[in-house]
Symmetry: C2
Subunit: 498 residues, 2 copies
């Protein structure tokens, strides 16, 4: 699947924003100049030396110096990425290198700096081409289902498989991975593992870092196999390379847990009386051990705004001050029947299915909003249940203080016995700068004991906050590991490790 320049996916899937919605939003938060992305201007020539080019070609990997290939791997898809792409003020990698699985190690041993590149969907600067000379290491040729064990319920996947490609291969044999982040249609297996992705159904199927059983990782100094069956043989090296964001190696194989394709999918929705009440219900459900695949609770502002865009007036009136709660149940008919739970609230027939139908549409809506002159960005975190309300209030206050007029929406989207995630979406005028608001939100997260990122990873954007997140000694440990596996610093420089 191709990704349009300076936007998301296939533009023909954009629905456009009705004028009344634009007017309503502009009235609420103001807006900047409307307009579409600028066409790509001239691309600087590759800085690769002849010797570097020869070394890369000598590995047998495809080396693509075309402007088109380089521009397509210039950036991820955060709001700031899109602003840069739209305005034409972005750096490009010096080449795109496409190895086979067998060639990855040789490419790393050329000494050329690489940015491992899967779907290019990072929203934290994870694929920014930093460094003097740097190539995008495109993993799209590593696209096989290597093996599948029905007995072990595991599959060995190559990292370049996109979400839909991996699911298609598994589905054809009756299995599913169950990993459906909003970026699903473009993001890749390697990216999921490198960033500790969480999907919309991760409450039930598990975060991606819980789905991975083993990995093979290529580094400039050699290959390492991590994980396997459960072990007490020391620290978990699997958990050291999960979330390593290309800075500690290139993931070339991922063994994942799989589940039978669900016989049944049920998405139920309710309006619950308040945010606090909804959180309490979700906590009790999760802690009872009866866990749905999907659990989402929108706060009052997200409920009102999302219904403003889609629901009839009568529903909007009913929803006033209430919160939309969606539970999704997937599995065998018996399993869904056994677990499916009625929550306390006003049932909203059809709303669960409507959410499921539009679950990958958010990034398209963002393109429409940006064209219309709005700032739109998301941030996410997790915190223990007992801190969740405080984190929610603190982030909202920080964003409002930084941005002035804005709409801050939030939903709970991943449940754990001791914690839950919060996912914020911010709408403001496109004239407002995002960075000060992001900084204020990050400070609020740290001050309230929440993590800097629940599933978007670190990249460049959260790197300044890593020291606060893991401590001085944690940073030293990560640096020492990097020094072992990447002594020359050729792996995704400027990301993850401060």
């Amino acid at each position: 699947m191709t990704m349009v320049h300076a936007g998301w996916g296939d533009p023909s899937r954009r629905k456009g924003l009705p004028e009344p919605v634009v007017g309503w939003l502009a009235h609420k938060v103001g807006r900047g100049a409307a307009g579409e992305p600028a066409p790509v201007a001239s691309v600087p020539p590759s800085r690769l030396t002849d010797a570097q080019l020869a070394a890369l070609r000598g590995t047998g990997a495809e080396v693509d110096l075309s402007d088109e290939a380089r521009v397509a791997r210039a950036a991820g898809r955060s709001y700031l990425d899109l602003l840069a792409l739209r305005s034409g003020t972005f750096d490009v990698p010096d080449a795109v290198v496409r190895p086979t699985a067998d060639q990855v190690g040789a490419v790393l041993r050329t000494g050329v700096t690489v940015v491992p590149f899967g779907g290019g969907t990072s929203v934290v600067g994870g694929v920014a081409p930093l460094g003097e000379t740097v190539v995008a290491l495109d993993l799209s040729r590593l696209d096989r289902l290597v093996s599948l064990s029905e007995e072990d319920r595991t599959a060995v996947l190559e990292p370049g498989l996109t979400g839909p490609a991996a699911e298609a291969l598994l589905n054809a044999r009756g299995w599913t991975l169950g990993h459906f982040p909003q970026s699903f249609e473009h993001a890749t297996i390697g990216g999921f593992a490198a960033t500790r992705s969480a999907g919309q159904a991760s409450t039930g199927y598990g975060r991606f870092d819980a789905l991975v059983v083993a990995m093979t990782v290529e580094t400039p100094v050699g290959r390492i196999d991590v994980g396997g069956s459960p072990t007490a043989a020391g620290p978990s090296l699997l958990q050291l390379f999960l979330g390593s964001e290309g800075a500690l190696g290139v993931i070339t194989s991922v063994t994942v847990r799989i589940k039978p394709l669900p016989e049944v999918k049920r998405y139920d929705a309710w309006l619950v009386s308040s945010w606090e009440e909804g959180i309490r219900q979700l906590r009790e459900l999760e802690q009872s051990g009866v866990v749905p695949e999907v659990a989402r609770l929108s706060d009052e502002d997200e409920t009102a705004t999302s219904l403003r865009l889609s629901a009839p007036r009568a529903v909007r009136a009913l929803a006033r001050g209430r919160c939309l709660l969606i539970l999704g149940w997937e599995g065998s008919a018996a399993s869904v029947k056994r677990r499916r739970t009625r929550m306390k609230g006003i049932p909203l027939p059809g709303a669960g299915d409507r959410w499921e139908h539009g679950r990958y549409d958010g990034p398209y809506l963002r393109d429409d909003l940006m064209d219309a002159g709005f700032l739109v960005e998301t941030l996410e975190t997790s915190a223990s249940w007992s801190r969740l309300l405080d984190v929610h209030s603190a982030v909202r206050a920080a964003l409002a203080a930084a941005l002035g007029d804005c709409i801050v929406m939030c939903h709970v989207s991943h449940l754990y016995p001791h914690a839950a995630s919060l996912y914020f979406t911010v709408l403001a005028s496109g004239n407002k700068p995002w960075q000060p608001a992001k900084d204020a939100a990050c400070q609020a997260l740290l001050a309230t004991g929440a993590t800097i990122t629940h599933h978007h990873a670190v990249g460049t954007d959260h790197r300044p906050w890593m020291r606060a997140e893991v401590g001085d000694l944690g940073v030293e440990v990560l640096r020492a590991v990097k020094q072992v596996v990447d002594p020359s610093g050729v792996l995704n420089p400027g990301k993850l490790i401060p």
Copy 2:
């Protein structure tokens, strides 16, 4: 709870071996000289210099130079440990240092080599006092339940709490940790975390490394807090310090998941038609998502031997060629009712409860067997379901080849969606050397793709196998991390990292 010298726990709880059983075993495997442990002879004087002693005392920690204290912390409780303790040929630490939580960091900064010591129940040499001068860092004063959050279902425990002490503190407030390894009565919270312990109910409650949410670790270069709510902020440092066996720091606080005290406990037993059939049933149960707290399946030889020791003749006849399967269900009445599953086999009423009643008696039986002149040792592993039968066969063959006449018993004791554990118990004549048999078993494990240890950890005994387990690069990574947190090498030398 005190631990007798050269044996286990409180000797008054030993039941003794009936003569017919001794005769039967001797007939099967032969036996060595019967006899009890030798009394402790003279203990060498402490090698601590005056300066070291002053430095240790300067931290405010208790420093105990008594023979009794030093001998009590000289060794763990493996068969080889017990042989050494019985014969009087063992090293002792040069002192026992008992800090408060606040004093641990200062002790580490004295530069004196330490062996962190909890319950002293290691069966892999984890507490052996290696090094020129070395003190046992006894954590028994770190024995508080620091806090408990009902909302988050977490508790902060100090590492020196034994299993029963931690459970008593939690139970008094209506909660349980649910971690019940065979060493439960003596082992400690810190030890569970440092060794990635698994308990008899870990199939349901989770391995200890899955129960830990966060830890505080003191190192010679400072304190590090790891873990928290679920995060995508890079590699998991929590999973790096879990299983670090005192070689990367001293765990001073462990935040664990807790569950409500079960209303109901049900232990069911069956005789199933074969080992293969029992494994198939357990795999299907686990993969269906209906997971019991306890799941144990004994192979034919373990079934026959354990029934030989306890069951009436009619039951033994019934069991011939069959396998004993026990499932334990704990939780709310509703949860147990919902999950409790009938397996295919001959129900054996009362056998589940009898297992539960004697669940901590194994080490006492071992003392009886050793007094009677038998070799008795255990080893354990895990492997993917598809490899389980091969691993079982290979380890049995390796042990039989090394030991000649012997009884090798095995049970499956921990289930995972993709894998299960195997726990072997070996009986032979006390005249036979154990080390060649252990080496042969380890080679068989590695050759069949099983892990070198599922829950006993590495210590000294598995250290020679770590390179095969984690690879050259894995060893380099662990060394680099150790160099950061323990540049002078004062933390539990000679353990874990080759």
